[in-house]
Each structure stands twice: as C-alpha cells, then as structure tokens.
C-alpha cells in the first residue's frame, strides 16, 4: 500500500467529491442506494478515505461547538474592532459565574432541553395527554410526543411521572429514556432519577418495564425500587412514598449516613456541600425541608454533633465535627 502521509495535499477533484458527499449527507436525502454508493466511493481509493477523514475532522470540530456561543461569535457583524478585548477577556473570565456542570455535560443536558429546573427549584407540569410530571431540582427533560409514542427524555435530574389514559385513537406507549436505557409505563406512577452512569427507578403504582440499553429487560412492580446501568438491572429493594417525598419538598431520612444525606442535599443547592469524612457515618433520621437547604443545615447542626462551616458567601459548605 502506498499511502500518502496524513498531511500531504489531496487532489482538489477528490476534495470536490468529498464536498459533494457532505452536501448530500447534510441535505438529508441519503437513500439506501446513496449510502451504498457513498461506501463504495470511500472504499474505492485510499485518497477518498483520506479526504473523508478530513471531512470527519471538520464535522468533529463543528459538532463540538455549543451553538449559543458559536453562532454569535462566528456570525458577528463585521466591525473594525481594536484593543481592550484582551483586558475584557481577563475581566470576563473572572466574573462570568462558573457553570455547575462541565461543558460536555451541559452540552448533552442543557442546550436544548424543553423543560428544566435550577438547583433548588421544583416544578409541576401537565403534558398534552394529561400526564402529570414533577421535576425535581436541577432537572432537564425533552418531551417528544408523536403518533406512535409518548417519549420523555430525562437528560439530568429526577422526575415523578403520573400517566393519564391516552386519548389517541391508537394506543401509544409512554416511555422515559435515560443515558442507560428506557422505561415503559404500564399505567402507573413512578419516579426516575438520572445519576452519574446509572438510572434509579421507584414504582408506586402498577408497574414499569425497564429495558437497559444492553441488558435483559425486566418488569418492576409497585412498591419496589431498583437502579440499572446500560449493562443491566441491580437487585430491587422495597420502596414507599418516602421515595417521592421530594415532590412535597421533603427529604425523609431513616438512619441515612450523614455523607449520603449531605450528597443528597448538595443536589438542591448552587455551590458545593461536603461532609468531613470523620463524621461520614453518623446516622441521620427525620423529615427535612430539603428545598430550604439553609434550614436543613441548621436542623442538622441543632440535632447532631456537627457544625456547618460556610465560605465564599455560602457557596462552599462543609459539615464538620463540632
């Protein structure tokens, strides 16, 4: 094989063909025949493949840009600007508030979400079919209803779903998708939470069918909760209304480890909440107004041998031994 070096020039005629394919791919008119023709073109000559590698590089660069930043930057009006930009760069980088999510996360979870809540916010939604949704703190969802299905895509956070009987002439399944798989409501009330790399489900009425992306499907009955990864489902444990106390702004703890309690609380607050490892295992019990994190922290300090240390205007909270 006499392959040219990666950076070597490519025949303009071949780049021209690659451009034609790019136009066609983006035009959305790629039939099965066109796809086959494209594959043949790409495989028929190493130079074609090399030209297409450039096309992919270009697509990767463009695809990695967040539209709300890229569009105003690249499509800016032509002005003869000078100076001061460097000083402003330094100033703005210092004053723009840091996003709570890394950008990659924000990209998948935030840019185009249909509904979202901020940290500490809770919202009730009524969907077109009568389904009731409650969005917990820091949650983002997309709603995609079409003639075949009712789909909620949970990008981040936690929701409670109370489905309504579908009025469409043809029965449409009600589905919730997460990063790890999807759930089909079998006439029901249930909660779904997107954690880091796993999904947690608690069923309160009827049942939910769970399909992990690569694992065996399973049905979870009322009164059970389970979490799953893309590979499969973990063992189910009992669940009751305490699992959805958040819909009333409460966190019900029953001998919960303090470290877990604090991690839970952190979801409801902008900023960082940490627990000193020395007191991580203190068991916490009680009903806490989780939406009011300051009050909850005050209750913790009043009940347990702990103290709340706040820095940076309350952005940085550490629960430490008293």
């Amino acid at each position: 094989m006499n392959r040219a070096a990666p950076g070597a020039p490519i025949d303009p005629r071949i780049l021209d063909q690659a451009s034609d394919w790019l136009v066609q791919w983006h035009g959305g008119g790629m039939t099965d025949e066109a796809r086959a023709a494209f594959q043949r073109w790409r495989q028929s000559d190493p130079e074609h493949d090399r030209a297409w590698a450039r096309a992919e590089l270009l697509m990767n660069k463009l695809g990695g840009l967040p539209p709300p930043l890229a569009m105003p930057s690249l499509d800016r009006p032509a002005r003869s600007g000078r100076r001061a930009a460097v000083a402003r760069l330094a100033m703005l980088l210092a004053t723009v508030p840091a996003g709570w999510a890394a950008w990659q996360v924000a990209r998948h979870e935030g840019w185009t979400a249909d509904h979202r809540t901020r940290a500490g916010e809770r919202r009730d939604l009524r969907l077109a079919d009568g389904t009731r949704l409650v969005l917990n703190t820091a949650t983002a969802i997309d709603v995609r209803f079409d003639p075949r299905q009712r789909l909620i895509h949970l990008r981040a956070g936690e929701i409670l779903v109370q489905t309504a009987p579908d009025t469409a002439p043809v029965r449409r399944p009600f589905l919730v998708g997460t990063g790890e798989g999807r759930m089909e409501a079998l006439g029901t009330r249930f909660s779904v939470r997107q954690d880091d790399g796993s999904t947690a489900v608690a069923v309160l009425e009827r049942a939910v069918r769970i399909e992990p992306r690569h694992g065996a499907p399973a049905v979870l009955e009322a009164g059970r909760r389970a979490s799953f990864t893309a590979a499969g489902l973990a063992a189910a444990t009992p669940a009751d209304e305490a699992a959805v106390a958040w819909t009333r702004g409460m966190l019900l703890a029953d001998r919960m480890r303090l470290a877990d309690f604090v991690a839970e609380l952190a979801r409801y607050r902008v900023g960082i909440v940490r627990c000193d490892p020395a007191i991580a295992d203190i068991p916490v019990s009680g009903a806490f107004p989780v939406a009011d994190t300051d009050r909850t922290l005050g209750m913790l300090a009043a009940t347990y041998p702990v103290r709340v240390a706040a820095r940076a205007g309350g952005y940085w909270i550490t629960v430490v031994p008293r």
Binding site: H26, G27, L69, L74, V96, P97, G99, W103
Partner: protein
C-alpha cells in the same frame, strides 16, 4: 549547513536592523506598545519559519507585508474574542461552559473562524446556519430568501474551501 548558517545570519541582521522600526510601525497601527512588541515578535517568527529569502532589496517592504498579514489575523482574533465573551456573558448560568472548557471552545472557534474568513458573507452565513444551528437546507432557503439550489451551491463552496484548508 552553511546555507542554514547564512540564513540565520541574515535573519539576525534583519532583526537588528529593522526590529525597532517594525515595532514603531506596529505601535502606530495598534496604539499600544505591548501588543506591538508581541506582533513584531510574531512577524520575525513567521519570517524565520517561512525560510524566505531574506537578502531582499526592500527588507522593510517585505517585513510590512508579513506584518500586515499578522495584523489582520490579530484583529480578527480580537473581534472573535469580543463576540465570544459577549455571548458567554449572555448565557444563563447553568449553560455556561466550565472555565477549562472555555479556552478549548475559543481555540476551536478561532480555527473555524480562520477557515471561513475568505468566504463571501452569504456563503459563510448559509454554512453557519447549517453546521452550527443545524437548520435544514429548505429552512435556510426560506429564512435567507434564496433558492434551495443556491443553498446547496453555497454549502458545496464552503465545504470545498474548508476541506482544502483544514489541517
């Protein structure tokens, strides 16, 4: 070997004879000494990397030509950075990229901006609507009031241009 040596000697001579003059020239253009010093440095770096014949009859004309290219580039970067920062400041907090991501995004934006710089405005806009906003060709045609075939022609032009220039 001796060519390399004589080349670097020529650069040295060029530098010592004309650096002060180039810095002053850039300072007049830019209105400040710091940026002028940076760009003068960039100009000589470009000359050095370019392995251009430096024993020129008109070294200052040559240096000005290189410096002008660098200056144009610099203005474009400044304008992009300003637009980027404005967009960043306007973004709701949860959508703002983390600080370590901001520089990566800005670098990619610079690259794309440079790629698209030579394209006619209408072609560039069509390309951005398709590739950044994710609009369909039909919708772009409607939004910009041109024929679908024109959108495709513009996309083809922009893709060809980018594929030839991208590294």
């Amino acid at each position: 070997m001796s060519t390399a040596n004589s080349h670097s000697r020529e650069i040295e001579a060029l530098y010592s004879d004309h650096h002060g003059w180039l810095h002053a020239w850039l300072r007049r253009k830019l209105g400040n000494s710091f940026d002028a010093a940076d760009l003068a440095q960039d100009t000589f770096a470009r000359v050095l990397a370019g392995r251009m014949p430096v024993s020129l009859a008109e070294p200052r004309a040559y240096l000005t030509t290189v410096a002008k290219g660098i200056l144009v580039n610099w203005y474009r970067r400044q304008a992009l950075e300003r637009a980027y920062l404005e967009a960043l400041a306007a973004l709701p907090e949860p959508q703002a990229p983390a600080p370590e991501q901001r520089c990566l995004i800005l670098e990619t934006l610079h690259e794309i901006d440079a790629l698209l710089d030579r394209l006619p405005p209408q072609v560039k806009r069509t390309f951005l609507l398709s590739q950044i906003e994710g609009m369909k060709y039909e919708d772009i045609a409607r939004a910009t009031d041109v024929l679908l075939i024109t959108v495709k022609r513009h996309m083809k032009q922009a893709f060809s241009h980018c594929l030839a220039a991208i590294e």
